[in-house]
Subunit: 336 residues, 2 copies
DNA sequence: CCTCCTCGGTGAAACGTTTCACGGGTACTT
DNA sequence: AAGTACCCGTGAAACGTTTCACCGAGGAGG
């Protein structure tokens, strides 16, 4: 339906090569001719055919971003960062949702490769994704997002969850708390166990032998936070932890609600720190202290690594970039 | 880097046409040959070149989805619905984020058209998007999502916000409330004014001349909900509305927090109904009644309309599909 | 006048598919 | 045995670009 370059050429009375030059290297064509061609482009409302361009060039100008869940703000924030960088390099991002389903992930990777994307940013559903290796072997670089921390054979970006746990616990310890609790689970999620591990590290580094109680949960949700809240509220005052670090904000919110409901004061009776700093954290009934991850920056870094690898002049070395999270202290853990 | 069809052909000792047939109409080729070709495909790990396919076919197999904000769960849920339908039709979705910026929107539409997408689903940033009309004229159908209610010249999908307002208010009136309030704003947002209008309609339909107080807010956020909460809490008990309908859940959550903080009981002193039924609504300190929009279904419907238009056999008529929202009653507005 | 350059433009090849008219075999019919 | 129908497979054209070798005109320098 849309006009092609040759129709434009005919209309302007030049050859197709000239039209192409007007489009791609305008300095090569005389101003007068250029203007004439541009007028023809305008009046025929010509639209470039990206498929033909990509075919001829042997490559596209897109990069693929495969996330576990588009509906998760974590990934959409990452996506925003990726887009920024892609924009700067005149690339376009195709966002794909694996929905934590290996079959969907596989289909997306297949499509991306068929589109001859220049590279892929991915948070794989499972550690080893069968389609990924051959793809890389065929020359499509991939950067892992928030996964595969140890692998030196690829670029990756991640946030240091252990540090996050250490920051949170360190802050609580500094406030004088000595009976602490960790609420989170399942521990099989690396992020959760790392945050827990960071917490224990912080506790070992302090004297006065603080006590840590772990309330393992089945999911990172508000209801589980409530359940943990009940458990804590029912402890005797001498037993009860005076500070709780939750593996994510949903747990913390559930916990907070339950504290309020049962008349326990936050932070006086129980101090709370969450994780993720979701939008809602600062707006909770009692604004929630939380560990913030630099998500957009994560996306930016991932995209930059990928583009570096794409434009590799032979000097590229795979790197594992680890970001440091940041503790945002709010009312829920502040000494008044 | 990846092998082409002709290399496969050479390797298998057949012509390119035959390889293509194996790929696209396998029944046309003898089983033995087919197997041989498939083995070659396997061993050379051949990957189709979508650009070449699209070029040859004159069209791609993708549809574009342009949303106002990828980080907004509303749109990601819609996107999930769109993807489902696209999958069923062997199409692939390119998700684009305009971030409420007309320039970005424009760039995305341009890219989509260059990719020769089969159609576009879009929630335009402003009512009239200059690039959209010519695109449609050039044969790329578009379906509006949650916009342009009145236009008969295009397909669109939307949710009936007036009905949502009516449902919420009707429910509150039925519970016997006669002093009501509407919290929301800015009124220039169609959704907000529609919800308000629906509420007034419900009130006019009931006798006993109920009173409606409008607390207009500058944004649909938790802090504004708090502000409205303060205002309400400070009214004398005789003046104070006994039920509040908020234009979205964030306002309702802010309002709820403020009520709790000031010792007003929900729903006994003040009943609350929100809008959107966001994930947190059911998990608020007091589970929030809310009007739920069928977001995924909206996405599905939009995609189906688009695909119908794409496969138009001449019988297509533009339709404006309007969905009915659903009231979810929870503790915040229940008569105990 | 001849040579050499530069400028502006031309025309064709190539990218990897799909499709389609065609043809050589084989087997069946008459 | 000739005609016919069908089955498999071939080869070339076409899709819309980009790129590159080439060419003609005009001007400068000798």
């Amino acid at each position: 339906m849309a006009a092609s370059i040759s129709e434009v050429a005919k209309h302007a009375g030049v050859s197709v090569g000239t039209v192409s030059n007007v489009l791609n290297r305008p300095q090569l064509v005389a101003p007068e001719t250029r203007a004439r061609v541009l007028r023809s482009i305008e009046s025929l409302d010509f639209v470039r055919n990206e498929s033909a361009r990509a075919l001829r060039a042997g490559r596209s100008r897109t990069i693929g971003l495969v996330v576990l869940d588009v509906a998760n703000p974590y990934f959409t924030d990452v996506a925003v960062g990726v887009e920024q960088v892609a924009d700067e390099h005149d690339m376009v991002v195709t966002l794909c949702n694996s929905a934590e389903d290996t079959a969907r992930e596989d289909r997306h990777l297949q499509h991306l490769e068929e589109q001859r994307v220049r590279g892929v940013l991915i948070t794989p559903v499972v550690e080893e994704t069968p389609r990924l290796e051959p793809m890389i072997a065929r020359g499509i670089p991939a950067v892992l997002v928030d996964r595969g921390s140890g692998q030196a054979s690829r670029c990756s970006v991640a946030v240091d969850d252990k540090l996050g746990g250490r920051l949170a616990a360190g802050h609580l310890l500094e406030q004088g708390h000595r009976r602490l609790a960790f609420v989170g689970g399942p521990m099989t999620i690396r992020q959760v166990s790392d945050r827990h591990e960071g917490m224990t590290m912080a506790m070992e580094a302090v004297n006065g032998s603080p006590r840590l109680r772990v309330l393992e949960q089945s999911s990172l949700s508000i209801p589980c936070g409530r359940k943990a809240g009940e458990e804590i509220a029912e402890m005797s005052e001498r037993q009860r932890p005076t500070a709780v670090f939750c593996a994510n904000d949903l747990l913390a919110i559930g916990l907070l609600q339950e504290m309020i409901r049962r008349g326990l004061r936050v932070p006086e009776d129980v101090a709370i720190v969450g994780y993720d700093d979701i939008e809602y954290a600062g707006a909770a009934a009692i604004p929630l202290s939380s560990v913030r991850q630099p998500r957009e920056q994560l996306g930016r870094a991932a995209a930059e690594l990928l583009i570096e690898e794409i434009n590799d002049d032979g000097t590229h070395r795979h790197r594992q970039v680890v970001f440091e999270p940041e503790l945002i202290v709010r009312e829920s853990s502040a000494t008044s």
